[in-house]
Protein backbone atom coordinates (compact mmCIF):
# COMPACT_ATOMS: atom_id res chain seq x y z
CA UNK A 1 0.00 0.00 0.00
CA UNK A 2 2.83 2.39 0.86
CA UNK A 3 4.24 1.86 -2.60
CA UNK A 4 1.03 3.08 -4.22
CA UNK A 5 0.83 6.12 -1.94
CA UNK A 6 4.44 7.00 -2.77
CA UNK A 7 3.83 6.66 -6.49
CA UNK A 8 0.64 8.68 -6.43
CA UNK A 9 2.38 11.32 -4.34
CA UNK A 10 5.24 11.54 -6.81
CA UNK A 11 2.95 11.96 -9.79
CA UNK A 12 0.94 14.58 -7.92
CA UNK A 13 4.18 16.54 -7.41
CA UNK A 14 5.13 16.07 -11.07
CA UNK A 15 1.71 17.27 -12.18
CA UNK A 16 2.00 20.30 -9.94
CA UNK A 17 5.45 21.02 -11.39
CA UNK A 18 4.10 20.79 -14.94
CA UNK A 19 1.21 23.11 -14.13
CA UNK A 20 3.58 25.58 -12.52
CA UNK A 21 6.02 25.52 -15.45
CA UNK A 22 3.04 26.13 -17.70
CA UNK A 23 2.01 29.08 -15.55
CA UNK A 24 5.48 30.55 -15.20
CA UNK A 25 6.86 30.20 -18.76
CA UNK A 26 4.74 32.85 -20.51
CA UNK A 27 5.33 35.22 -17.59
CA UNK A 28 9.11 34.75 -17.63
CA UNK A 29 9.59 35.03 -21.37
CA UNK A 30 10.24 38.34 -23.14
CA UNK A 31 7.45 39.95 -25.13
CA UNK A 32 3.78 40.30 -24.31
CA UNK A 33 1.95 37.18 -25.49
CA UNK A 34 -1.44 38.34 -24.22
CA UNK A 35 -1.49 41.45 -26.38
CA UNK A 36 -0.32 39.55 -29.45
CA UNK A 37 -2.92 36.86 -28.88
CA UNK A 38 -5.80 39.23 -28.10
CA UNK A 39 -5.11 41.40 -31.13
CA UNK A 40 -5.04 38.27 -33.31
CA UNK A 41 -8.24 37.02 -31.72
CA UNK A 42 -10.15 40.26 -32.15
CA UNK A 43 -9.08 40.35 -35.78
CA UNK A 44 -10.96 37.08 -36.19
CA UNK A 45 -14.14 37.99 -34.35
CA UNK A 46 -15.58 39.33 -31.11
CA UNK A 47 -13.85 38.21 -27.89
CA UNK A 48 -15.99 37.98 -24.80
CA UNK A 49 -14.69 39.43 -21.50
CA UNK A 50 -14.67 35.88 -20.05
CA UNK A 51 -12.40 34.64 -22.83
CA UNK A 52 -10.17 37.68 -22.34
CA UNK A 53 -9.99 36.92 -18.64
CA UNK A 54 -9.09 33.25 -19.09
CA UNK A 55 -6.35 34.10 -21.61
CA UNK A 56 -4.93 36.70 -19.26
CA UNK A 57 -4.84 34.07 -16.51
CA UNK A 58 -3.10 31.55 -18.78
CA UNK A 59 -0.44 33.84 -20.14
CA UNK A 60 -0.06 36.58 -17.55
CA UNK A 61 -0.59 40.29 -18.03
CA UNK A 62 -0.63 43.56 -16.16
CA UNK A 63 -3.69 43.15 -13.99
CA UNK A 64 -4.46 44.39 -10.51
CA UNK A 65 -4.58 40.77 -9.32
CA UNK A 66 -1.60 39.57 -7.33
CA UNK A 67 0.52 36.76 -8.77
CA UNK A 68 -0.73 34.37 -6.08
CA UNK A 69 -4.41 34.95 -6.82
CA UNK A 70 -3.67 34.72 -10.57
CA UNK A 71 -2.04 31.37 -9.90
CA UNK A 72 -5.02 29.96 -8.05
CA UNK A 73 -7.54 31.25 -10.58
CA UNK A 74 -5.35 29.67 -13.28
CA UNK A 75 -5.37 26.32 -11.47
CA UNK A 76 -9.16 26.59 -11.13
CA UNK A 77 -9.52 27.25 -14.85
CA UNK A 78 -7.28 24.34 -15.78
CA UNK A 79 -9.17 21.87 -13.60
CA UNK A 80 -12.49 22.92 -15.10
CA UNK A 81 -11.04 22.41 -18.58
CA UNK A 82 -11.02 26.08 -19.56
CA UNK A 83 -7.83 26.62 -21.55
CA UNK A 84 -8.89 29.69 -23.50
CA UNK A 85 -9.63 30.28 -27.18
CA UNK A 86 -7.59 29.18 -30.16
CA UNK A 87 -6.56 31.67 -32.84
CA UNK A 88 -5.70 29.03 -35.40
CA UNK A 89 -9.05 27.29 -35.12
CA UNK A 90 -11.13 30.33 -34.12
CA UNK A 91 -13.74 30.33 -32.56
CA UNK A 92 -13.09 26.81 -31.26
CA UNK A 93 -11.88 26.55 -27.68
CA UNK A 94 -8.47 25.08 -26.99
CA UNK A 95 -10.05 22.16 -25.14
CA UNK A 96 -12.18 21.19 -28.15
CA UNK A 97 -9.26 21.47 -30.55
CA UNK A 98 -7.17 19.20 -28.36
CA UNK A 99 -10.01 16.72 -27.95
CA UNK A 100 -10.22 16.41 -31.73
CA UNK A 101 -6.54 15.83 -32.39
CA UNK A 102 -5.40 13.85 -29.36
CA UNK A 103 -7.02 10.50 -30.35
CA UNK A 104 -5.05 10.44 -33.61
CA UNK A 105 -1.74 10.80 -31.82
CA UNK A 106 -2.59 8.34 -29.07
CA UNK A 107 -3.72 5.70 -31.55
CA UNK A 108 -0.71 6.10 -33.85
CA UNK A 109 1.95 6.40 -31.15
CA UNK A 110 0.36 3.85 -28.85
CA UNK A 111 0.23 1.12 -31.47
CA UNK A 112 3.67 1.94 -32.89
CA UNK A 113 5.27 1.99 -29.43
CA UNK A 114 3.71 -1.29 -28.37
CA UNK A 115 4.80 -3.00 -31.60
CA UNK A 116 8.29 -1.59 -31.24
CA UNK A 117 8.52 -2.72 -27.60
CA UNK A 118 7.28 -6.25 -28.27
CA UNK A 119 9.46 -6.78 -31.35
CA UNK A 120 12.52 -5.18 -29.76
CA UNK A 121 12.27 -7.11 -26.50
CA UNK A 122 11.59 -10.35 -28.37
CA UNK A 123 14.59 -9.95 -30.67
CA UNK A 124 16.79 -8.74 -27.82
CA UNK A 125 15.87 -11.85 -25.84
CA UNK A 126 16.96 -14.10 -28.70
CA UNK A 127 20.14 -12.08 -29.29
CA UNK A 128 21.11 -12.30 -25.62
CA UNK A 129 20.33 -16.01 -25.50
CA UNK A 130 22.44 -16.88 -28.54
CA UNK A 131 25.31 -14.50 -28.19
CA UNK A 132 27.42 -14.14 -31.30
CA UNK A 133 24.58 -15.28 -33.51
CA UNK A 134 23.47 -13.51 -36.65
CA UNK A 135 20.83 -11.61 -34.69
CA UNK A 136 23.38 -10.48 -32.13
CA UNK A 137 25.66 -9.11 -34.80
CA UNK A 138 22.69 -7.29 -36.26
CA UNK A 139 22.42 -5.03 -33.20
CA UNK A 140 25.16 -2.57 -34.22
CA UNK A 141 23.42 -2.27 -37.60
CA UNK A 142 20.09 -1.65 -35.89
CA UNK A 143 21.64 1.07 -33.73
CA UNK A 144 22.67 2.78 -36.95
CA UNK A 145 18.95 3.35 -37.51
CA UNK A 146 18.82 5.08 -34.15
CA UNK A 147 21.68 7.38 -35.01
CA UNK A 148 19.96 8.45 -38.21
CA UNK A 149 17.72 11.42 -37.47
CA UNK A 150 14.18 10.11 -37.35
CA UNK A 151 12.70 12.63 -39.76
CA UNK A 152 15.45 11.95 -42.28
CA UNK A 153 14.66 8.24 -42.30
CA UNK A 154 10.94 9.04 -42.46
CA UNK A 155 11.38 11.44 -45.38
CA UNK A 156 13.45 8.90 -47.31
CA UNK A 157 10.88 6.15 -46.69
CA UNK A 158 8.06 8.52 -47.57
CA UNK A 159 9.83 9.40 -50.81
CA UNK A 160 10.46 5.73 -51.62
CA UNK A 161 7.05 4.32 -50.74
CA UNK A 162 4.78 7.11 -51.88
CA UNK A 163 6.58 8.91 -54.67
CA UNK A 164 8.76 6.22 -56.25
CA UNK A 165 6.62 3.11 -55.62
CA UNK A 166 3.28 4.72 -54.66
CA UNK A 167 2.37 2.02 -52.13
CA UNK A 168 1.25 4.42 -49.39
CA UNK A 169 -0.42 7.84 -49.43
CA UNK A 170 1.88 10.86 -49.15
CA UNK A 171 0.14 12.64 -46.29
CA UNK A 172 -2.88 12.89 -44.04
CA UNK A 173 -4.55 10.62 -41.51
CA UNK A 174 -7.42 9.21 -43.58
CA UNK A 175 -9.07 9.48 -46.98
CA UNK A 176 -10.66 12.92 -46.58
CA UNK A 177 -12.85 12.66 -49.71
CA UNK A 178 -13.94 9.03 -49.67
CA UNK A 179 -14.82 8.51 -46.01
CA UNK A 180 -16.44 10.26 -43.08
CA UNK A 181 -14.80 10.06 -39.65
CA UNK A 182 -16.68 7.89 -37.18
CA UNK A 183 -17.01 4.26 -36.25
CA UNK A 184 -17.52 2.91 -39.73
CA UNK A 185 -15.54 0.30 -41.60
CA UNK A 186 -14.29 2.33 -44.62
CA UNK A 187 -13.01 5.09 -42.34
CA UNK A 188 -11.18 2.72 -40.00
CA UNK A 189 -9.65 0.88 -42.92
CA UNK A 190 -8.44 4.09 -44.48
CA UNK A 191 -7.08 5.31 -41.12
CA UNK A 192 -5.08 2.09 -40.76
CA UNK A 193 -3.84 2.37 -44.34
CA UNK A 194 -2.75 5.98 -43.85
CA UNK A 195 -1.16 5.21 -40.49
CA UNK A 196 0.93 2.23 -41.60
CA UNK A 197 3.89 4.12 -43.03
CA UNK A 198 4.23 6.56 -40.09
CA UNK A 199 3.98 3.68 -37.64
CA UNK A 200 6.55 1.70 -39.62
CA UNK A 201 9.09 4.52 -39.53
CA UNK A 202 8.58 4.97 -35.78
CA UNK A 203 9.08 1.25 -35.15
CA UNK A 204 12.19 1.13 -37.36
CA UNK A 205 13.85 4.00 -35.56
CA UNK A 206 13.01 2.92 -32.01
CA UNK A 207 13.25 -0.87 -32.06
CA UNK A 208 17.03 -0.96 -31.70
CA UNK A 209 16.96 0.74 -28.30
CA UNK A 210 14.65 -1.88 -26.80
CA UNK A 211 16.63 -4.64 -28.47
CA UNK A 212 19.98 -3.51 -27.11
CA UNK A 213 18.70 -2.97 -23.57
CA UNK A 214 17.00 -6.35 -23.48
CA UNK A 215 20.02 -8.13 -24.92
CA UNK A 216 22.37 -6.66 -22.31
CA UNK A 217 20.00 -7.56 -19.48
CA UNK A 218 19.64 -11.10 -20.86
CA UNK A 219 23.42 -11.47 -20.83
CA UNK A 220 23.57 -10.37 -17.18
CA UNK A 221 20.63 -12.53 -16.15
CA UNK A 222 22.00 -15.63 -17.84
CA UNK A 223 24.99 -15.68 -15.51
CA UNK A 224 22.78 -15.85 -12.39
CA UNK A 225 22.88 -18.95 -10.26
CA UNK A 226 19.25 -19.85 -10.73
CA UNK A 227 19.84 -20.21 -14.46
CA UNK A 228 22.60 -22.72 -13.73
CA UNK A 229 20.21 -24.53 -11.43
CA UNK A 230 17.57 -24.60 -14.12
CA UNK A 231 20.08 -26.00 -16.60
CA UNK A 232 21.24 -28.59 -14.08
CA UNK A 233 17.65 -29.66 -13.52
CA UNK A 234 17.54 -30.45 -17.22
CA UNK A 235 14.80 -28.03 -18.14
CA UNK A 236 14.32 -27.42 -21.80
CA UNK A 237 16.40 -24.44 -23.07
CA UNK A 238 13.28 -22.76 -24.42
CA UNK A 239 11.68 -22.81 -20.99
CA UNK A 240 14.84 -21.46 -19.34
CA UNK A 241 15.02 -18.66 -21.89
CA UNK A 242 11.42 -17.50 -21.58
CA UNK A 243 10.22 -18.16 -18.04
CA UNK A 244 13.55 -18.01 -16.20
CA UNK A 245 15.75 -15.48 -17.97
CA UNK A 246 13.57 -13.23 -20.10
CA UNK A 247 10.97 -12.69 -17.43
CA UNK A 248 13.55 -11.16 -15.13
CA UNK A 249 15.54 -9.45 -17.84
CA UNK A 250 12.55 -7.52 -19.13
CA UNK A 251 12.05 -5.63 -15.86
CA UNK A 252 14.53 -2.77 -16.50
CA UNK A 253 13.07 -2.30 -19.97
CA UNK A 254 9.65 -1.89 -18.42
CA UNK A 255 10.80 0.52 -15.76
CA UNK A 256 12.81 2.41 -18.37
CA UNK A 257 9.59 3.03 -20.21
CA UNK A 258 9.27 6.35 -18.40
CA UNK A 259 12.43 7.67 -20.00
CA UNK A 260 11.51 6.54 -23.48
CA UNK A 261 8.00 7.95 -23.36
CA UNK A 262 9.43 11.44 -23.66
CA UNK A 263 11.20 10.37 -26.83
CA UNK A 264 7.99 8.83 -28.12
CA UNK A 265 6.23 12.16 -27.76
CA UNK A 266 9.12 13.97 -29.43
CA UNK A 267 9.05 11.41 -32.23
CA UNK A 268 5.35 11.89 -32.69
CA UNK A 269 5.66 15.64 -33.12
CA UNK A 270 8.26 15.23 -35.82
CA UNK A 271 6.47 12.28 -37.44
CA UNK A 272 3.23 14.20 -37.70
CA UNK A 273 5.09 17.03 -39.35
CA UNK A 274 6.64 14.70 -41.94
CA UNK A 275 3.40 12.88 -42.76
CA UNK A 276 1.02 15.84 -42.20
CA UNK A 277 -0.80 13.61 -39.76
CA UNK A 278 -3.77 15.31 -38.07
CA UNK A 279 -2.47 14.70 -34.53
CA UNK A 280 -1.60 16.88 -31.60
CA UNK A 281 2.02 17.43 -32.64
CA UNK A 282 0.95 18.94 -35.92
CA UNK A 283 -1.48 21.18 -34.05
CA UNK A 284 1.27 22.25 -31.65
CA UNK A 285 3.48 23.31 -34.54
CA UNK A 286 0.75 25.26 -36.29
CA UNK A 287 0.03 26.92 -32.94
CA UNK A 288 3.70 27.90 -32.70
CA UNK A 289 3.72 29.26 -36.24
CA UNK A 290 0.62 31.37 -35.57
CA UNK A 291 1.78 32.64 -32.16
CA UNK A 292 -1.30 30.88 -30.78
CA UNK A 293 0.04 30.88 -27.22
CA UNK A 294 -3.11 29.65 -25.49
CA UNK A 295 -3.35 26.60 -27.75
CA UNK A 296 0.37 25.99 -27.37
CA UNK A 297 0.30 26.07 -23.58
CA UNK A 298 -2.80 23.90 -23.57
CA UNK A 299 -1.17 21.28 -25.76
CA UNK A 300 1.98 21.28 -23.68
CA UNK A 301 -0.15 20.68 -20.61
CA UNK A 302 -2.13 17.87 -22.22
CA UNK A 303 0.99 16.15 -23.56
CA UNK A 304 2.62 16.35 -20.13
CA UNK A 305 -0.45 15.02 -18.36
CA UNK A 306 -0.72 12.14 -20.86
CA UNK A 307 2.92 11.23 -20.35
CA UNK A 308 2.51 11.37 -16.57
CA UNK A 309 -0.62 9.21 -16.78
CA UNK A 310 1.08 6.62 -18.96
CA UNK A 311 4.04 6.53 -16.58
CA UNK A 312 1.76 6.05 -13.60
CA UNK A 313 0.03 3.18 -15.39
CA UNK A 314 3.38 1.53 -16.16
CA UNK A 315 4.53 1.98 -12.56
CA UNK A 316 1.38 0.38 -11.18
CA UNK A 317 1.65 -2.46 -13.69
CA UNK A 318 5.28 -2.92 -12.75
CA UNK A 319 4.41 -3.43 -9.10
CA UNK A 320 2.08 -6.24 -10.14
CA UNK A 321 4.79 -7.94 -12.20
CA UNK A 322 7.63 -7.47 -9.72
CA UNK A 323 6.44 -7.96 -6.11
CA UNK A 324 9.84 -6.84 -4.78
CA UNK A 325 9.02 -3.19 -5.54
CA UNK A 326 6.01 -3.37 -3.23
CA UNK A 327 8.01 -5.06 -0.48
CA UNK A 328 10.90 -2.61 -0.69
CA UNK A 329 8.81 0.53 -0.44
Amino acid sequence: MRYYVQKLGFYAVALWAALTINFALPRLMPGDPVDILLSKLSARGPVTPEARQSIALLLGTETDQSLISQYFSYLGNVFTGDLGLSVTYFPQTVTDTIAQTLPWTIALMGIATVISFVVGVGLGQLAGWKRGSFLDNLIPVATMFQAVPYFWLALVLLYLFSSVFAVFPTNGGYDVYGTTPGLNWPFLRSAVYYGTLPALTIVLSSVAGWMLGMRNMMVSTLSEDYITTAEAKGLRPRRIMTTYAARNAVLPSLSGFAITLGFVVAGSIVAEQVFSYPGIGQTLLSAVQNNDYALMQGIFLVITVSVLGANLAVDLLYSLIDPRTRARA
Partner: protein, 321 residues
Amino acid sequence: MTTTATDPDVVARALPEGRGRRRRGLRLPSPKLGVGLAICGLIALFGLVGPLVVGDPDAVDNVGLAPPGGGYLLGTTQTGQDVFAQLAWATRGSLVIGLVVGLLAVGLAAVFGVIGAYAGGWVDEGFSLFSNVMLVIPGLPLIIVISSYVADKSIWLIALVLALTSWAGGARVLRGVTLSLRSRDYVSASRVSGERTWRILLVEILPNLVPLLASLFIFAVIGAILGEAGLAFIGLGASGSWTWGTMLFWAGNGLALRLGALWWFVPPGLMIALFGAGLAMINFAIDEIIDPKLRLQTRAARRRWRRPSDVGSSGGAGARA
Protein backbone atom coordinates in the same frame (compact mmCIF):
# COMPACT_ATOMS: atom_id res chain seq x y z
CA MET B 1 45.15 10.04 4.30
CA THR B 2 46.98 7.94 1.76
CA THR B 3 44.02 5.79 0.78
CA THR B 4 43.38 6.48 -2.86
CA ALA B 5 41.20 5.12 -5.57
CA THR B 6 44.23 4.06 -7.54
CA ASP B 7 44.76 1.27 -5.04
CA PRO B 8 45.22 -1.74 -7.36
CA ASP B 9 42.65 -3.83 -5.51
CA VAL B 10 39.97 -1.22 -5.94
CA VAL B 11 40.72 -0.72 -9.59
CA ALA B 12 40.75 -4.44 -10.11
CA ARG B 13 37.36 -4.73 -8.52
CA ALA B 14 35.92 -1.87 -10.55
CA LEU B 15 37.44 -3.04 -13.79
CA PRO B 16 37.92 -6.81 -13.71
CA GLU B 17 40.67 -7.94 -16.09
CA GLY B 18 42.07 -4.42 -15.98
CA ARG B 19 45.44 -5.51 -14.64
CA GLY B 20 45.77 -8.42 -17.00
CA ARG B 21 45.12 -6.21 -19.97
CA ARG B 22 47.69 -3.70 -18.87
CA ARG B 23 50.33 -6.40 -18.61
CA ARG B 24 49.72 -7.34 -22.24
CA GLY B 25 50.54 -3.80 -23.25
CA LEU B 26 48.38 -0.93 -24.39
CA ARG B 27 45.82 -2.66 -26.58
CA LEU B 28 42.46 -1.19 -27.45
CA PRO B 29 39.70 -3.04 -25.58
CA SER B 30 37.96 -3.81 -28.85
CA PRO B 31 38.17 -2.89 -32.51
CA LYS B 32 34.92 -0.99 -32.04
CA LEU B 33 36.70 1.67 -30.03
CA GLY B 34 39.28 2.17 -32.77
CA VAL B 35 36.70 2.41 -35.56
CA GLY B 36 34.47 4.71 -33.52
CA LEU B 37 37.34 7.01 -32.58
CA ALA B 38 38.51 7.12 -36.19
CA ILE B 39 35.07 8.07 -37.54
CA CYS B 40 34.43 10.73 -34.91
CA GLY B 41 37.98 12.06 -35.18
CA LEU B 42 37.72 12.49 -38.94
CA ILE B 43 34.36 14.26 -38.67
CA ALA B 44 35.68 16.52 -35.90
CA LEU B 45 38.73 17.32 -38.05
CA PHE B 46 36.43 18.19 -40.94
CA GLY B 47 34.43 20.52 -38.70
CA LEU B 48 37.63 22.08 -37.40
CA VAL B 49 39.56 22.55 -40.65
CA GLY B 50 36.75 22.50 -43.23
CA PRO B 51 35.35 25.99 -42.63
CA LEU B 52 38.84 27.46 -43.04
CA VAL B 53 39.30 26.19 -46.59
CA VAL B 54 35.80 26.34 -48.10
CA GLY B 55 34.08 29.44 -49.44
CA ASP B 56 31.14 31.35 -48.03
CA PRO B 57 28.23 28.95 -47.37
CA ASP B 58 25.68 31.73 -47.91
CA ALA B 59 27.09 32.92 -51.25
CA VAL B 60 24.47 32.64 -53.99
CA ASP B 61 25.39 31.54 -57.49
CA ASN B 62 23.30 31.27 -60.62
CA VAL B 63 23.88 27.54 -61.10
CA GLY B 64 21.05 26.25 -58.91
CA LEU B 65 20.69 22.52 -58.19
CA ALA B 66 23.89 21.58 -59.97
CA PRO B 67 24.83 17.93 -59.36
CA PRO B 68 28.22 17.14 -57.81
CA GLY B 69 31.20 17.77 -60.00
CA GLY B 70 32.29 20.81 -61.92
CA GLY B 71 33.17 23.68 -59.67
CA TYR B 72 31.25 22.24 -56.71
CA LEU B 73 32.39 19.13 -54.90
CA LEU B 74 28.92 18.22 -53.62
CA GLY B 75 26.81 20.23 -56.03
CA THR B 76 24.71 23.26 -55.20
CA THR B 77 21.40 24.03 -53.52
CA GLN B 78 18.35 25.54 -55.17
CA THR B 79 19.80 29.01 -54.88
CA GLY B 80 23.23 27.92 -56.00
CA GLN B 81 24.89 27.76 -52.61
CA ASP B 82 27.83 25.39 -52.27
CA VAL B 83 26.63 22.24 -50.44
CA PHE B 84 30.16 21.27 -49.46
CA ALA B 85 30.82 24.66 -47.86
CA GLN B 86 27.52 24.44 -46.01
CA LEU B 87 28.38 20.95 -44.85
CA ALA B 88 31.71 22.10 -43.44
CA TRP B 89 30.13 24.96 -41.47
CA ALA B 90 27.19 22.78 -40.43
CA THR B 91 29.59 20.14 -39.09
CA ARG B 92 31.24 22.79 -36.94
CA GLY B 93 27.88 24.11 -35.72
CA SER B 94 26.46 20.71 -34.84
CA LEU B 95 29.64 19.61 -33.09
CA VAL B 96 29.68 22.80 -31.03
CA ILE B 97 26.09 22.17 -29.96
CA GLY B 98 26.84 18.53 -29.18
CA LEU B 99 29.93 19.42 -27.16
CA VAL B 100 28.29 22.22 -25.16
CA VAL B 101 25.17 20.21 -24.41
CA GLY B 102 27.21 17.12 -23.55
CA LEU B 103 29.37 19.01 -21.06
CA LEU B 104 26.46 20.92 -19.50
CA ALA B 105 24.20 17.88 -19.26
CA VAL B 106 26.88 15.67 -17.71
CA GLY B 107 27.83 18.47 -15.33
CA LEU B 108 24.24 18.91 -14.18
CA ALA B 109 23.74 15.16 -13.93
CA ALA B 110 26.89 14.85 -11.81
CA VAL B 111 25.85 17.68 -9.49
CA PHE B 112 22.34 16.37 -8.93
CA GLY B 113 23.17 12.66 -9.01
CA VAL B 114 26.52 12.35 -7.24
CA ILE B 115 26.26 15.12 -4.68
CA GLY B 116 22.69 14.21 -3.79
CA ALA B 117 23.45 10.55 -3.33
CA TYR B 118 26.60 11.26 -1.33
CA ALA B 119 25.03 13.84 0.96
CA GLY B 120 21.98 11.68 1.67
CA GLY B 121 19.06 12.82 3.79
CA TRP B 122 16.77 15.57 2.58
CA VAL B 123 19.31 16.82 0.02
CA ASP B 124 19.13 13.43 -1.68
CA GLU B 125 15.35 13.30 -1.40
CA GLY B 126 15.01 16.77 -2.89
CA PHE B 127 17.56 16.28 -5.68
CA SER B 128 16.18 12.92 -6.67
CA LEU B 129 12.59 14.16 -6.65
CA PHE B 130 13.65 17.10 -8.80
CA SER B 131 15.47 14.94 -11.33
CA ASN B 132 12.64 12.43 -11.48
CA VAL B 133 10.15 15.19 -12.17
CA MET B 134 12.42 16.59 -14.89
CA LEU B 135 12.66 13.10 -16.30
CA VAL B 136 8.94 12.58 -16.76
CA ILE B 137 8.21 16.03 -18.17
CA PRO B 138 8.56 15.56 -21.94
CA GLY B 139 11.51 17.53 -23.30
CA LEU B 140 10.71 18.41 -26.88
CA PRO B 141 7.29 20.00 -26.25
CA LEU B 142 8.91 22.06 -23.49
CA ILE B 143 11.71 23.11 -25.85
CA ILE B 144 9.17 24.00 -28.53
CA VAL B 145 7.17 26.12 -26.10
CA ILE B 146 10.27 27.89 -24.75
CA SER B 147 11.77 28.57 -28.16
CA SER B 148 8.50 29.86 -29.58
CA TYR B 149 8.58 32.77 -27.16
CA VAL B 150 12.06 33.79 -28.26
CA ALA B 151 12.15 35.18 -31.79
CA ASP B 152 15.88 35.38 -32.37
CA LYS B 153 17.54 32.21 -31.16
CA SER B 154 21.28 31.90 -30.98
CA ILE B 155 23.05 28.55 -31.16
CA TRP B 156 23.92 28.96 -27.45
CA LEU B 157 20.31 29.36 -26.40
CA ILE B 158 19.38 26.18 -28.26
CA ALA B 159 22.26 24.36 -26.57
CA LEU B 160 21.26 25.65 -23.14
CA VAL B 161 17.64 24.59 -23.56
CA LEU B 162 18.65 21.16 -24.87
CA ALA B 163 20.98 20.69 -21.91
CA LEU B 164 18.37 21.75 -19.37
CA THR B 165 15.94 19.15 -20.67
CA SER B 166 18.34 16.24 -21.06
CA TRP B 167 20.37 15.82 -17.87
CA ALA B 168 17.82 14.07 -15.67
CA GLY B 169 18.23 10.50 -16.92
CA GLY B 170 21.97 10.64 -16.30
CA ALA B 171 21.45 12.01 -12.80
CA ARG B 172 19.30 9.02 -11.92
CA VAL B 173 21.90 6.53 -13.18
CA LEU B 174 24.73 8.33 -11.37
CA ARG B 175 22.73 8.44 -8.15
CA GLY B 176 22.26 4.67 -8.21
CA VAL B 177 25.96 3.98 -8.73
CA THR B 178 27.06 6.58 -6.17
CA LEU B 179 24.75 5.09 -3.56
CA SER B 180 26.53 1.77 -3.91
CA LEU B 181 29.99 3.39 -3.97
CA ARG B 182 29.53 5.53 -0.87
CA SER B 183 28.98 2.48 1.30
CA ARG B 184 32.16 0.74 0.10
CA ASP B 185 34.83 0.16 2.71
CA TYR B 186 37.48 2.40 1.20
CA VAL B 187 35.10 5.37 1.14
CA SER B 188 34.13 4.78 4.77
CA ALA B 189 37.84 4.48 5.62
CA SER B 190 38.70 7.79 4.04
CA ARG B 191 35.75 9.40 5.78
CA VAL B 192 36.88 8.05 9.13
CA SER B 193 40.44 9.18 8.51
CA GLY B 194 39.10 12.72 8.24
CA GLU B 195 39.23 13.53 4.56
CA ARG B 196 37.23 16.49 3.41
CA THR B 197 33.94 15.80 1.67
CA TRP B 198 34.95 17.42 -1.61
CA ARG B 199 38.16 15.40 -1.62
CA ILE B 200 36.30 12.15 -1.09
CA LEU B 201 33.94 13.08 -3.89
CA LEU B 202 36.66 14.11 -6.33
CA VAL B 203 39.40 11.63 -5.50
CA GLU B 204 37.63 8.55 -4.15
CA ILE B 205 34.29 8.47 -5.90
CA LEU B 206 34.63 10.38 -9.16
CA PRO B 207 37.41 8.23 -10.71
CA ASN B 208 35.14 5.19 -10.41
CA LEU B 209 32.43 7.03 -12.26
CA VAL B 210 34.60 8.06 -15.19
CA PRO B 211 33.54 5.29 -17.60
CA LEU B 212 29.91 5.93 -16.74
CA LEU B 213 30.32 9.68 -17.16
CA ALA B 214 31.96 9.10 -20.54
CA SER B 215 29.06 6.96 -21.63
CA LEU B 216 26.54 9.54 -20.42
CA PHE B 217 28.47 12.26 -22.23
CA ILE B 218 28.30 10.29 -25.47
CA PHE B 219 24.58 9.75 -25.08
CA ALA B 220 24.09 13.44 -24.38
CA VAL B 221 26.07 14.41 -27.48
CA ILE B 222 24.08 12.07 -29.74
CA GLY B 223 20.85 13.23 -28.15
CA ALA B 224 21.75 16.89 -28.56
CA ILE B 225 22.73 16.58 -32.21
CA LEU B 226 19.57 14.62 -33.00
CA GLY B 227 17.47 16.97 -30.87
CA GLU B 228 18.86 20.03 -32.59
CA ALA B 229 18.27 18.44 -35.98
CA GLY B 230 14.66 17.68 -35.08
CA LEU B 231 14.14 21.18 -33.73
CA ALA B 232 15.66 22.74 -36.83
CA PHE B 233 13.60 20.49 -39.07
CA ILE B 234 10.32 21.72 -37.60
CA GLY B 235 11.54 25.28 -38.08
CA LEU B 236 12.67 26.14 -34.56
CA GLY B 237 16.43 25.83 -34.96
CA ALA B 238 19.12 28.40 -34.34
CA SER B 239 18.62 31.36 -36.59
CA GLY B 240 21.49 32.54 -38.75
CA SER B 241 23.92 29.68 -38.18
CA TRP B 242 24.59 26.44 -39.99
CA THR B 243 24.05 23.05 -38.41
CA TRP B 244 23.22 19.67 -39.93
CA GLY B 245 19.66 20.29 -38.82
CA THR B 246 19.29 23.68 -40.52
CA MET B 247 20.82 22.22 -43.69
CA LEU B 248 18.17 19.49 -43.66
CA PHE B 249 15.51 22.10 -42.96
CA TRP B 250 16.46 24.09 -46.06
CA ALA B 251 16.77 20.91 -48.09
CA GLY B 252 13.28 19.86 -46.98
CA ASN B 253 11.95 23.35 -47.67
CA GLY B 254 13.48 23.36 -51.12
CA LEU B 255 11.86 19.97 -51.89
CA ALA B 256 15.31 18.50 -52.45
CA LEU B 257 13.96 14.94 -52.48
CA ARG B 258 11.10 15.59 -54.91
CA LEU B 259 13.50 17.36 -57.25
CA GLY B 260 15.91 14.45 -56.99
CA ALA B 261 18.65 16.59 -55.44
CA LEU B 262 20.05 13.74 -53.36
CA TRP B 263 23.44 15.48 -53.05
CA TRP B 264 21.71 18.20 -51.04
CA PHE B 265 19.54 16.02 -48.83
CA VAL B 266 21.73 12.99 -48.17
CA PRO B 267 25.09 14.44 -46.92
CA PRO B 268 23.84 16.10 -43.69
CA GLY B 269 21.76 13.07 -42.72
CA LEU B 270 24.64 10.76 -43.52
CA MET B 271 27.02 12.87 -41.42
CA ILE B 272 24.65 12.66 -38.44
CA ALA B 273 24.28 8.91 -38.93
CA LEU B 274 28.04 8.37 -39.27
CA PHE B 275 28.86 10.51 -36.27
CA GLY B 276 26.13 8.84 -34.23
CA ALA B 277 27.31 5.40 -35.25
CA GLY B 278 30.89 6.32 -34.36
CA LEU B 279 29.83 7.53 -30.94
CA ALA B 280 27.65 4.45 -30.46
CA MET B 281 30.67 2.22 -31.19
CA ILE B 282 32.76 4.09 -28.63
CA ASN B 283 29.88 3.61 -26.23
CA PHE B 284 29.73 -0.13 -26.89
CA ALA B 285 33.43 -0.31 -26.09
CA ILE B 286 32.93 1.65 -22.85
CA ASP B 287 30.02 -0.63 -21.90
CA GLU B 288 32.29 -3.61 -22.38
CA ILE B 289 34.88 -2.02 -20.11
CA ILE B 290 32.29 -1.41 -17.39
CA ASP B 291 30.62 -4.81 -17.74
CA PRO B 292 33.06 -7.44 -19.04
CA LYS B 293 30.22 -9.95 -19.39
CA LEU B 294 29.22 -8.11 -22.54
CA ARG B 295 32.66 -8.51 -24.03
CA LEU B 296 32.77 -12.06 -25.34
CA GLN B 297 30.04 -11.54 -27.81
CA THR B 298 31.08 -11.89 -31.39
CA ARG B 299 31.37 -15.26 -33.02
CA ALA B 300 35.03 -14.63 -33.78
CA ALA B 301 35.79 -13.71 -30.18
CA ARG B 302 34.01 -16.78 -28.93
CA ARG B 303 35.87 -19.07 -31.30
CA ARG B 304 39.09 -17.70 -29.94
CA TRP B 305 38.13 -18.60 -26.39
CA ARG B 306 36.31 -21.86 -26.80
CA ARG B 307 36.63 -25.06 -28.74
CA PRO B 308 34.55 -24.92 -31.94
CA SER B 309 32.40 -27.87 -30.76
CA ASP B 310 31.11 -25.75 -27.87
CA VAL B 311 29.92 -22.84 -29.99
CA GLY B 312 26.51 -24.21 -30.77
CA SER B 313 25.59 -25.02 -27.18
CA SER B 314 23.21 -22.95 -25.09
CA GLY B 315 24.20 -19.35 -24.46
CA GLY B 316 24.22 -19.49 -20.66
CA ALA B 317 27.52 -21.33 -20.64
CA GLY B 318 29.36 -18.50 -22.39
CA ALA B 319 29.67 -16.23 -19.41
CA ARG B 320 31.09 -18.92 -17.18
CA ALA B 321 33.52 -20.49 -19.62
